[in-house]
C-alpha cells in the first residue's frame, strides 16, 4: 500500500501541467501508480485525488470503469487472449482452451507462483493476424499452441525481459515537453481570445 514516490510525484506534476484542468490527468496518473506497484493501491488513489483535486471516491469511480486498472496484485505477465469475432473465427477459443491447460488455471486467475494472469480480451485491433494475444500489452500474432508454449517458456526463463516489462508499465517512452518550446496549458476560463494566427475576424453566425 503505497503513495506515489518522490520521483513519480515529479512525473505526475509534469503530466498534470499539460492539461487545462488537473483532473484530466487522472487516467495517466492511475497508470503511473500501476506502473509503480503493479496494481492500483488505495493509498495511490487517495494520493492521486490530492494531486488532481478530486476526492478518492471520484478517482476510484473513474478507475473502476477501465479494464486495465487492477486493484489487487496480478501476475508479472498479464496474458490477454482475444475472443472477439475475427479471432474466434480463426481459433481464439481453442487457443484459450490450450492456454488454460498449459498454465493450469482458468481465465481470470493467476498462477500460484505469481508469474502469469490469464484473461479473455475483447478486440485487440490486429484482426487480420488472428488469433492474437497480448502479454502486458505487447502483441503476439497468429498464435498456435506451439508458439504459445514457447512464449510461456521464454517469459518464465526471463528471455523476453528486454521486450516485455513487468505488468504495470505500458509505454516505456514518455512525452516530455521542453519548457522553452511548450505553449503551456491555460484554464479554459482564461483563454477566451481568438488564437493569434486567426487574423480574419469571424462573422457572427
Amino acid at each position: 500500500m503505497s503513495r506515489l514516490t518522490e520521483d513519480n510525484v515529479r512525473v505526475a506534476h509534469e503530466i498534470i501541467s499539460r492539461y487545462p484542468r488537473p483532473r484530466s490527468a487522472t487516467i495517466p496518473l492511475l497508470h503511473l501508480a500501476q506502473q509503480q506497484d503493479g496494481y492500483v493501491t488505495n493509498d495511490a488513489i487517495r494520493h492521486i485525488g490530492e494531486l488532481v483535486g478530486a476526492t478518492s471516491a471520484e478517482v476510484l469511480g473513474t478507475a473502476t470503469f477501465y479494464e486495465m486498472f487492477k486493484f489487487e496484485p496480478v501476475g508479472k505477465y498479464l496474458v490477454n487472449i482475444c475472443r472477439t469475432m475475427s479471432c474466434a473465427l480463426m481459433g481464439g477459443e481453442e487457443l484459450m482452451h490450450h492456454a488454460e491447460h498449459r498454465l493450469g488455471i482458468k481465465a481470470g486467475s493467476t498462477t500460484p507462483d505469481g508469474m502469469f494472469t490469464l484473461e479473455h480480451a475483447e478486440c485487440q485491433a490486429a484482426c487480420t493476424e488472428a488469433p492474437t494475444l497480448q502479454v502486458n500489452y505487447r502483441y503476439r500474432f497468429r498464435v498456435t499452441p506451439e508458439t504459445f508454449d514457447a512464449l510461456i517458456d521464454d517469459l518464465a526463463a526471463g528471455r523476453l525481459d528486454s521486450e516485455i516489462p513487468a505488468h504495470g508499465t505500458v509505454a516505456r517512452i514518455r512525452q516530455h515537453i521542453p519548457a522553452e518550446r511548450g505553449v503551456g496549458a491555460v484554464p479554459p476560463e482564461d483563454a477566451t481570445n481568438a488564437p493569434s494566427w486567426m487574423t480574419v475576424a469571424e462573422a457572427p453566425k
Binding site: 487545462p20 487516467i27 488564437p195 493569434s196
Partner: protein
C-alpha cells in the same frame, strides 16, 4: 498474389494503388523524424502555414475529406460547426480504436506518427484550435511509445510548440492514453474520459462537441486516419484529392479484411469504387476465400454493421450505397465468414463484445445487451427454445424500435431495409449488440432452429397422493 507485405508492418499489404496515408510504410524506420523529413514530412504543414487559416479550411472543405471513424461526416464541415467567437476551441484526436475487425489507426500511429502530428497541426491551424489532445487506446503500448517519441522529436525540431517554423502559429499536442473501454471511442465519452471521468456518453443535444465539448468549450473530435489525410491534401491540393475515388467518397481509405480469406490484411483502397468482390477475391487484395470454400456472409463495416451476403459482393465500398443496401461502411473493417462458420456462434462473439462493453448508462443497452448475450449463449449451447428466438427479437425491439436495417437476399426473397435504425439509447453500443443477432436471425434463421432443444415432454402419471402413500 501480387500485393507486397513488410515484415516490419505485420498485417499491412501494399499494392499498385495511390497511397495517401501509407506511402511511408515501406520504410522500416518510417516512424522517425529523419525518414519523415526525407519523404516530404511536414511539407504539408509548410504549405498550410504559407496560406491563411481560412484558405486552408476551404481547401479541406473542397476536398470533402470524410471522417474515417465511422459516421463519415466531412471534416471541413465539422470544423465549421463551432459557434462563432467562442474560444478556446480544442482538438481531440480519436485513437481509441477498438471496433471489432478494425485496425488502421494503430498502424498509422505505429508506422507514421509524424504524419499524424502534421495532420493535427494543419487541422488546428485551419480551425483555430488552441490545444490538441491525442487520445490513444490504453492497450496500444507500441503506438503510445512511437507517438511519444515522435512528439519529443517534433518539439525539439520546432514543428510543435511555440511559434511553429517561425510563424505566429503556436500549438501544444498532448499525448493522452486510455485504460481499456470500447465506449470511449464514442466522441462524447472520449471527452468525459479526457476530463478524468468514467467514459460514459453525453446526451446529444445539448452536448454536441462542436458547441459544448471538452471543459464545456467547442471541441472538434476527429479520427486518426482523417488527420493522416491532411498532409497529402495540403501538398497536392483538393483537386488531386478528389481525382481519386468517387464523387461522394473521394480519396483512399484503409480497410482491414479479416476472417476466412486467403490473405487477410489492411489495404489502402481507392474510396468509393473498390467493390467487396475486388477486396475479397482480387489477386492484389485477399485472393479469395480460404481453402477455396464458399463465402457465407461478411460484415462490411466493423462489428456494429449489419451483415452482408454474397448478394452484395458487387457493391462498391461507398458509404451511401452501403447504407441503402442495409448496412454501413463504418470504420472500414470487413470480417469474412466461409461456409464452415457456425453463424449463431459468430453472432454471439459480437453480441458478447457489446454486452461486455456497455457502459451502463442507458437501460436498454445495459439490460438488453446482457439479455441478448445470455439468450444467445443458451441457444448456441443447444438449450434454447423457439420462445428464445422470439425473445431475442423482442429484446432487440426495445433497443431499436421499428424496422431494423438488413441486406436483401435472393434466396430468402428479402428486400433490403436501409440504414440507419431508430434507437432508445444515447450511443451505438446498445444497437450494436442487437445488430449481429438481427442479421444472423434474419438471414440464417434455420441455423438457429437447428440448435434448439428438442423438447420431449415427460407425461405426468395420474396417480393420487393417497395411492402413492398406500403403495409405500
Amino acid at each position: 498474389m501480387t500485393g507486397t507485405t513488410y515484415s516490419h508492418a505485420p498485417g499491412f499489404v501494399a499494392g499498385d494503388r495511390p497511397q495517401i496515408v501509407t506511402a511511408r510504410f515501406e520504410y522500416e524506420d518510417s516512424y522517425t523524424l529523419e525518414r519523415a523529413i526525407a519523404t516530404d514530412g511536414y511539407a504539408g504543414l509548410r504549405a498550410a502555414l504559407s496560406r491563411s487559416a481560412t484558405e486552408v479550411h476551404d481547401e479541406v472543405k473542397a476536398a470533402t475529406v470524410l471522417g474515417r471513424g465511422g459516421a463519415g461526416f466531412p471534416a471541413g464541415t465539422k470544423w465549421g460547426l463551432t459557434p462563432a467567437g467562442v474560444w478556446p476551441r480544442y482538438l481531440v484526436v480519436n485513437g481509441d480504436e477498438s471496433e471489432p475487425g478494425t485496425y488502421k489507426d494503430r498502424l498509422l500511429m505505429e508506422r507514421d506518427p509524424h504524419q499524424l502530428i502534421e495532420g493535427c497541426l494543419i487541422a488546428c491551424y485551419a480551425a483555430g484550435l488552441s490545444q490538441c489532445f491525442l487520445y490513444i487506446r490504453g492497450e496500444m503500448a507500441l503506438a503510445q511509445e512511437r507517438v511519444a517519441a515522435a512528439l519529443n522529436e517534433a518539439y525539439a525540431a520546432g514543428y510543435v510548440g511555440r511559434n511553429i517554423l517561425g510563424s505566429d502559429f503556436s500549438l501544444d499536442i498532448v499525448l493522452h492514453w486510455g485504460a481499456g473501454a470500447y465506449v470511449v471511442g464514442e466522441e462524447t465519452a472520449l471527452i468525459e474520459s479526457l476530463e478524468g471521468n468514467r467514459g460514459m456518453p453525453r446526451l446529444k443535444p445539448p452536448f454536441f462537441p462542436a458547441a459544448i465539448g471538452l471543459y464545456g468549450k467547442p471541441t472538434i473530435v476527429n479520427n486518426v486516419e482523417t488527420m493522416a489525410n491532411l498532409p497529402w491534401l495540403m501538398r497536392n491540393g483538393s483537386a488531386a484529392y478528389t481525382a481519386i475515388g468517387s464523387a461522394t467518397s473521394p480519396g483512399t481509405r484503409m480497410v482491414a479484411v479479416s476472417g476466412h480469406v486467403k490473405r487477410p490484411g489492411v489495404y489502402e483502397i481507392i474510396n468509393g469504387t473498390t467493390t467487396f468482390r475486388d477486396l475479397l477475391y482480387g489477386e492484389e487484395f485477399c485472393g479469395g476465400i480460404r481453402d477455396n470454400n464458399e463465402l457465407k456472409a461478411f460484415v462490411p463495416g466493423g462489428g456494429s454493421a449489419p451483415w452482408f451476403l454474397p448478394d452484395q459482393l458487387d457493391l462498391p465500398f461507398e458509404g451511401r450505397l452501403i447504407g441503402a443496401a442495409g448496412s454501413m461502411a463504418g470504420s472500414g473493417a470487413v470480417m469474412v465468414m466461409d461456409d464452415t462458420t457456425d453463424i449463431p456462434n459468430a453472432a454471439l462473439t459480437l453480441t458478447r463484445f457489446y454486452a461486455h462493453e456497455s457502459c451502463g448508462k442507458c437501460t436498454p443497452c445495459r439490460e438488453g445487451g446482457t439479455w441478448l448475450m445470455r439468450i444467445l449463449d443458451r441457444v448456441v449451447a443447444g438449450q434454447g427454445t423457439q420462445r428464445d428466438l422470439d425473445q431475442l427479437l423482442e429484446v432487440g425491439g426495445t433497443i431499436c424500435p421499428g424496422d431494423f436495417p438488413h441486406a436483401s437476399s435472393e434466396r430468402l426473397g428479402l428486400a433490403a431495409v436501409p440504414f440507419p435504425y431508430k434507437m432508445t439509447t444515447i450511443c451505438f453500443v446498445g444497437p450494436s449488440a442487437y445488430t449481429p443477432v438481427h442479421s444472423a436471425l434474419t438471414l440464417f434463421r434455420d441455423e438457429f432452429e437447428a440448435k434448439l432443444v428438442k423438447r420431449t415432454f415427460i407425461p405426468v402419471t395420474a396417480v393420487s397422493v393417497s395411492e402413492t402413500e398406500a403403495a409405500l
